[in-house]
């Protein structure tokens, strides 16, 4: 046996002296819990970029699945904004406003993208990380 393994075994002997059966139970339960929640991880990879969040004055009014084609109408201070989902993409079909900026943005589908209809206070955003939003310490 090499010296390296001896050191490892000595380390484990020390460590295991510090652990009670309750500790092993906690470790096992946590590993089980993590294994049980791992399926969520798959969902997140799929779910990220699969939703569009529609806000009016910053308040969420719709969460649209990009999976199903649909149209919603949001009534803001300037009139009706029509939002269309088709083929995994979303766009603003009609919205009041002289410049029609959000309509000219066309389709969006990537996480982090957003459509903003300023006159009507409506935003459509696809949540997800296009980078880090905040660092907590």
């Amino acid at each position: 046996m090499s010296q390296r393994f001896d050191a490892l075994r000595a380390f484990w002997r020390t460590v295991s002296r510090y652990l009670t059966w309750g500790d092993y139970l906690v470790i096992a339960l946590v590993l089980l819990g993590a294994a049980a929640t791992i399926p969520l991880l798959h969902e997140t990879a799929e779910a990220s970029g699969r939703w569009a969040i529609v806000r009016l004055d910053g308040q969420i009014v719709h969460q649209l699945s990009l999976e199903q084609d649909q149209e919603v109408i949001v009534t803001g201070p300037a009139g009706e904004t029509v939002i269309q989902v088709q083929g995994g993409r979303v766009r603003v079909l009609r919205s009041p406003g002289a410049q029609e900026i959000c309509m000219r943005q066309g389709w969006i589908h990537k996480p982090g993208q957003a459509l903003i209809c300023l006159p009507n206070h409506v935003t459509v955003e696809i949540p997800g990380d296009s980078g880090m939003d905040a660092i907590s310490r």
């Binding site: 946590v30 907590s136 310490r137």
Partner: protein, 190 residues
Amino acid sequence: MTPYTRSTLPEAWLLKRILFAALLALGIVLYVLEGFFPPLVPVPGAKLGLSNILVLFTMLFLGYSAGISLAIARSILGSFIAGTLLAPGALLSLAGGLVSALVVAVSLKKLHPPLGLVGISILGAIAHNVTQLVVAYVLFVQISGLFYYLPFMLILGLISGLITGLIAVYLFERLGRELGLAYNSDVGAL
């Protein structure tokens, strides 16, 4: 009013406060230093939580309430020094530290015979991580996708709790031997 003399000054009282102040200073230093290091894993909020050893130590040697005060003061003063006091992260850290300290206190009191300090450390670290997730969800981002972090948070809590717990047990054993401070589950008596 009688002046404090050596005979009137309750020494245990003084010793407790001096020890608390020293532990708090150490906790703040660990907290701030830890923030300097780049994260080992690319998950926001992942850190070792070395200052939680201090919380555990304080609870064992000075009592539960002292440990909880230490956790609160360490978060507030630590983020004050690190310059993140009013940033959202500081609030997360404070909530996480507080709930983690409560979990550690309760499990020290109720579960200590079957659970060792390592297991309690793991529970505390997980409580810290999960609380951060919940507070972040409630206060900042109402996106259920946040909870997809949960398995990461559990595994990271396990690892950091394991490491800090092992350090704690080793440290307390050595301290007990060198200083004659015997720690036992009979907390609150210094």
